[in-house]
């Protein structure tokens, strides 16, 4: 099913600052970690938005904000027009039925003291209006079958499954309430290579079957490209580039995107000596004290005075898609 143009999730200027405080009895704020600092995007029904970036870029905090596990400092995240950040109590609980998540680590994300049936059935216990009691066991078994597990294993415990199978259990739990949006936070990075493809295929199959919209957060760029319709690149709490997958991978305009793409090892030794490599110097700056103007300027080879003075906005620039660089210039680094 092709993604429709109807936005089911609208994120506007989402900000999350974690206060840094000093002192034990009299706490005073001495600053803030600007984990997410003004992020806006839309997510359409049935679409996959990939989010890439390095550790500390705020992509996991973004996931927590969208799951209402953290309250944003400011900004909005509207699901079907209702702001998640303002929802409380039973309204929030009802909204959660529509947005679920798949976590990274299949070894820590399942309660080791609960059976698989209890884990996948828990959503129905919390939202008892979704499935009548007598129906639940059958529903759990159906879910197990949908994710490719043996329904007879309903009474087993998580430690009796392998990593890939556990990830399937986590996916089944996310599907139980029939959400429209699933946030996948590095869903395959903890899995063995030969298992990753199985789980990727499962996610795609489920998307087609249930018309799910995914926010797919990962650091593996080839995996993100495979599954995503659009891709957002994050750096230090901001989206620096956002476009269709071909825009980002074939016509990247932001220097950071170009560096990221060129740094990814290509699984093909042919021509490796001649490949263009943009090796960035140094590490990303601390999100507690980001550089003025453009946040990437401290590692950027194009930086000029204006980059320190004026923050580049995320606008349609070179390459015909959104990017946030004063000197945006489309350049195919992969096939260069």
């Amino acid at each position: 099913m092709a993604p429709s143009s109807e936005a089911i999730l609208e994120v506007r200027d989402l900000v999350k600052h974690f206060p840094l405080s000093q002192g034990i009895v009299f706490k005073r704020q001495i600053g803030a970690i600007k984990a997410v600092d003004g992020v806006s995007f839309d997510l359409h029904r049935g679409e996959t938005l990939g989010v890439v970036g390095e550790s500390g870029c705020g992509k996991s905090t973004l996931a927590k904000l969208l799951m209402a596990l953290e309250r944003p400092t400011s900004g909005q995240a509207k699901i079907n027009g209702v702001d998640l950040a303002k929802a409380r109590g039973s309204e929030l609980k009802r909204m959660r039925r529509n947005i679920q998540m798949v976590m990274q680590d299949p070894y820590t994300s399942l309660n080791p003291r609960m059976t698989v049936g209890d884990i996948i059935g828990e959503p129905y216990e919390i939202h008892s209006e979704v499935a009548p009691k007598g129906d639940r066991r059958r529903k759990v078994q159906e879910l197990l079958e949908v994710v490719g597990l043996n329904p007879e294993h309903i009474n087993r415990y998580p430690h009796q499954f392998s990593g890939g199978q556990r990830q399937r259990i986590g996916i089944a739990r996310g599907l139980a309430l029939q959400p429209e949006i699933i946030i996948c936070d590095e869903p395959v990075s903890a899995l063995d290579v030969s298992i990753q493809a199985q789980v990727m295929n499962l996610l795609e199959k489920l998307q087609n079957e249930f018309n799910l919209a995914y926010i797919f957060i990962a650091h593996d760029l080839s995996v993100v490209r495979h599954i995503s319709d659009r891709v957002a690149v994050m750096y230090l709490g901001k989206i620096v580039e956002l476009g269709k997958d071909a825009d980002i991978y074939e016509r990247p305009a932001h220097p950071y995107t170009q560096a990221l793409l060129s740094a990814v090892p290509v699984p093909d030794p042919e021509g490796r000596e001649g490949r263009e490599r943009i090796i960035l110097q140094g590490d990303p700056p601390s999100p507690a004290d980001p550089p003025s103007g453009c946040r990437f300027r401290t590692r950027c080879w194009k930086a000029q005075d204006i980059c320190a003075e004026q923050e580049p906005l995320l606008e349609i620039r070179a390459g015909g898609h959104l990017s946030a660089c004063h000197f945006a210039e489309a350049h195919d680094v992969i096939n260069a």
Binding site: M67, A68, L69, L92, K93, R96, R97, Q100, M101, M103, Q104, D105, T108, S109, L110, N111, P112, R113, M114, T115, E122, P123, E125, I126, H127, G148, L149, N150, N155, R156, Y157, H159, Q160, F161, S162, G163, Q165, G170, R173, L177, Q198, L202
Partner: protein, 307 residues
């Protein structure tokens, strides 16, 4: 192999951890499986079991109808006879039947104190660890005040305040429990804080689970093991402490029977008549030994990392 993605049978858990047996197994039943195979546990449990039966039905065990409280001064400090298997004490009472009846106090004090401290410390630790902030600050500070009191000294003080006339099993449990719950609280609190940050708790919150469900379904079962371990170890400490307090004269009072009290009564005439001291001391040591073995085995089974 029935479908494309998965073998329908084989459990195929991570290789190093796979249990060979096929049946579904919770971590609790795995621990129980380990325990049953551990000779230390089996011996310890058997000895504790015998002591529990003795203290529940002392009449079945005391020597052929010899009442521990009917004493005959004429028999004082007699050695082992067919009537007095362990000899008789300073007042001519039968040591064997007194030892048998003394088990009840030790077992009762030990188990009640361990249960009370486990429940009180466990519940407060759960609340402190889960809610954090001011709940944690208040509970932890109060716990620290009690924690700072040296235990036997503190118990002496508390029992002195209660007074000899009111002394008994209840007051000893109160004194020991008052001083021991903070340790359980600390352990429970630490385990809860660890469990609270696990991904499966985050996942439950994301599903919309309320605080009670998260506490009781997700955190408690995963934080319980260390409290069970420490309570089993405390059990031995409480039995020893009861004997010490009774020995010092502030615990169990005559005419109730306690091993500590028997040792105290017998110590002045130890050289003439060692038996009235040796037998209660031997039973006390065996009891504590078996409880310590039990604690060790429980710790090994529930928390293999501590080994």
């Amino acid at each position: 192999m029935s479908n494309d993605t998965l073998p329908a049978t084989a459990p195929a858990a991570p290789p190093a951890k796979t249990p060979k047996k096929e049946k579904a197994a919770s971590l609790w039943s795995d621990a129980w499986y380990d325990l049953r195979r551990n000779p230390v546990f089996v011996i310890g449990a058997a000895m504790v079991g015998i002591l529990v039966v003795i203290s529940a039905f002392p009449g079945v065990f005391d020597s052929v109808g010899v009442d521990p409280s009917t004493c005959n001064l004429a028999n004082a400090r007699k050695g082992i006879t067919s009537e007095h298997w362990f000899g008789s004490d300073n007042l001519g009472c039968d040591v064997y039947s007194r030892v048998i009846h003394g088990a009840r106090v030790s077992i009762l004090v030990g188990f009640i104190s361990a249960a009370v401290t486990g429940i009180v410390g466990g519940v407060l630790g759960l609340l402190a660890g889960f809610y954090g902030r001011w709940v944690d600050i208040i509970l932890s500070r109060v716990a620290e005040i009690f924690f700072a009191i040296p235990s036997i000294l503190g118990a002496l003080l508390i029992l002195a305040v209660i007074g000899r006339d009111n002394a008994g099993i209840g007051s000893v449990v109160l004194a020991l429990g008052l001083l021991a719950w903070p340790m359980v609280l600390r352990i429970m609190r630490a385990a809860v804080i660890t469990a609270k940050h696990q991904d499966y708790v985050v996942a439950a919150r994301a599903l919309g689970a309320g605080p009670w469900r998260i506490m009781l379904r997700h955190i408690l079962p995963n934080a319980l093991a260390p409290v069970i371990v420490v309570s089993t170890i405390n059990l031995g400490a409480f039995i020893a402490a009861e004997a010490a307090l009774s020995f010092l004269g502030v615990g169990i009072q005559s005419p109730q029977i306690s091993w500590g009290l028997m040792i105290a009564d017998a110590r002045n005439r130890f050289l003439e008549a060692p038996l009235p001291l040796l037998f209660p001391a031997l039973f006390l040591s065996l009891t504590i030994l078996s409880v310590v073995m039990l604690g060790d085995a429980v710790r090994d089974a529930l928390d293999p990392k501590l080994r």
